[in-house]
Symmetry: C2
Subunit: 266 residues, 2 copies
Amino acid sequence: MRRSITGLSNPTVKYLRSLRDKKHRRREGRFLAEGLRLLTDARESGKLPETLVMAASRDPHPLLSALEEQVEAAGGEILEVTEEVLSKITGKDNPQAVAGVFAEFDSSLASLDRNAAPIWLVAQALRDPGNLGTMLRTGDAVGAGGLILLDNCADPFSVEAVRASMGAIFTQRVAQAEWEEFVPWLRDGAGQLVAASLRDAQPYREASYQAPCFILVGNESRGLPEDYEAECDLRVTMPMRGRADSLNAAVAGAVLAYEVLAQLAP
Amino acid sequence: MRRSITGLSNPTVKYLRSLRDKKHRRREGRFLAEGLRLLTDARESGKLPETLVMAASRDPHPLLSALEEQVEAAGGEILEVTEEVLSKITGKDNPQAVAGVFAEFDSSLASLDRNAAPIWLVAQALRDPGNLGTMLRTGDAVGAGGLILLDNCADPFSVEAVRASMGAIFTQRVAQAEWEEFVPWLRDGAGQLVAASLRDAQPYREASYQAPCFILVGNESRGLPEDYEAECDLRVTMPMRGRADSLNAAVAGAVLAYEVLAQLAP
């Protein structure tokens, strides 16, 4: 189905705009991804938007035409809008020429197959959507299975997290759970839980990792609670040669993930 | 000197507020750092603010008293302001109770002693202040000498970069230069220039690094220009097991820096 919308007060515009807000995303089970590159990543990962929103003034592009065709063939909706409407939806002065509405993915722990990959990233109370998206991107790069979000993390389906993931939101599995659900799930199968830590830890390059390896990073300012660290099978530490005693959470996860990758899947 | 300011239209308030803007920072040669933690990091690194701005309603804190004393002893200015004024200065609804105005540091290449550290981070046209601050933080952790910013990078003295550096803006050297100045400077002494690259590159864990090692990362969306890569002594590649062909710039720099650290200063 194809429609044109020019009015800013159109209910569809209001609906699309509301998806920038977490509460509305949750209620609708839908999220927004912006830009041709991201939508092409999604398509190549087998994920098509239910609704494709395009600026009427867009320049032609073969990747955009391919996307349009597939969305129509799959019974999706194509909306042509003015640049003003697109600005309103995306909240940007110079919006990308295209955006898509996707159904949120199943993010239950039960839906994960832990043996599908040697590495899984796990974040606890990670608050920054940029860090979250960056962890997804790193997970894609190291061939991780996905990102498990514990406790009160930022929303992986926010525009900022989706953007920072550089398409990895469509290739990595995402699960959301409380710590109290995660531990029994983890212990119900194979899995080594590893934390970057300052307490009772061994050098990260001398530790021995086992697949499936779950790399746990904590909140940006508080780090991991002590009892979470105590539950870990392995606590490792990275050199800290300066004044600070910690790395950015996404950086710590990445340095550790690349070490695990070198050991488990060189 | 100690003063109280309550009026939002006070010229000093306008001046302080203007330091959130790059143009004014450049003209004044001054920048803002917010929060007791950051200011304490600065003090412990031997850097005192010229002006200390405190909420009159602040809670007493021994670290704050220590800071206050030292700033006064050094002839600095103490401003007591209302919370409303502090909000205006910092642009935040719930500002930290304290902020400081610092003189910008000398950021000329000529001021760097390349032999002071085995590792230097170099960023080209890095646009995101969060990535820039994160690179400073990583530099501190790996014992790098500092961060060299090439071409049109984000401002290292912006509030966002200073915040993301978690105090490393006060411990790491920062230099700013154009590529055309950097290459002759680099070649005028010892130094291995290393880039993360996809072209003609060897695996990053099999490469041989030499101090002082300059780790070069490129712009977030375009990466490094081809001729910049060609100038490098070593091009290394990290495993990319997923769909994407690159990592977040700050992450790539960190993974590489930790490998170099393991080789050069284990």
